[in-house]
Symmetry: none
Subunit: 135 residues, 2 copies
DNA sequence: GGAGAAGTGGGGAATTGTGGGGAAGTTGAT
DNA sequence: ATCAACTTCCCCACAATTCCCCACTTCTCC
């Protein structure tokens, strides 16, 4: 399970350190894809396969074709380097409007990468409309 | 089951001794999250998974997304160290406004960590408005 | 009183996050 | 094909933080 939130940076080579608490879960292959909203999502290889399987079930062949052409080309399988970093492809960085300062968050079955300012604004909006944490 | 209340301290490294009576229940993984009110909640890994599962059921996909992005990033899985202590992440300490002196209370299925002064005030207020304990 | 457990403090080793050099591989123009 | 420019990958380096262990004091329980 991915929990917690970490403030990291992207260096000039497009690399970002994976929070140490997430590494062991991602060191056998990570799939980076466009996230829901202005962010990127990172899945373990296994979870990505499960999830894409679920999402393509029960679609008509036409919808399925469009869907597959939207999802798979935009994703990228990356390996964690010797220093525990992932390379974030330029195309994906642009999609999520990532500056050098990002917030990496664990969301149960996947990790999300947000531009730090965008994340902060999003959280403030949630806090304002929310009823507090139900724990 | 978690019962009782204990006055402990947080050291300069952010560590807090877990009351001995709680240790055996938490030594296989503890999840620390924002609590309801000005406190932190600590769950066993198993109970956390049950609870978060319950809370996400029956939500629309949009609500679910926002909800998950509020709950999971704010939590943190921690292990108890060799001396029976937990590290309380700085972000969570700030959320619950914890000074060095805290009160650790058992609340049936979870443990709560309160700043000692805040807890005391809260208890006095409850006693003042209540009719005593029904035992 | 003695033995063990509990709560606290701190030193040193290991890990983490970040930056950067340089070899190897790509690309595109000549 | 040749070469330069660029990208990608694999190291090494370093400061800061975290983790692991040892030590000390207090408390509890026979």
């Amino acid at each position: 399970m991915f929990l917690g939130q970490y403030e990291h940076s992207i260096d000039v080579k497009g690399r970002m350190a994976v929070p140490a608490k997430f590494r062991s879960q991602l060191d056998e292959g990570a799939v980076i894809s466009k996230g829901m909203g202005t962010c990127l999502s990172v899945y373990t290889l296994a979870r990505w396969e499960e999830k894409s399987q679920e999402l393509t079930e029960g679609k008509t062949t036409e919808d399925l074709r469009d869907f597959e052409r939207r999802i798979y080309p935009s994703a990228s399988e990356e390996k964690i380097d010797g220093q525990g970093r992932l390379v974030l492809p330029a195309r994906l960085r642009a999609y999520a409007r990532l500056s050098n300062e990002v917030t990496v968050v664990g969301v149960r079955d996947h990790v999300e990468i947000w531009d730090r300012a965008v994340w902060q604004e999003y959280q403030e909006r949630l806090d304002a409309q929310g009823d507090g944490i139900p724990f």
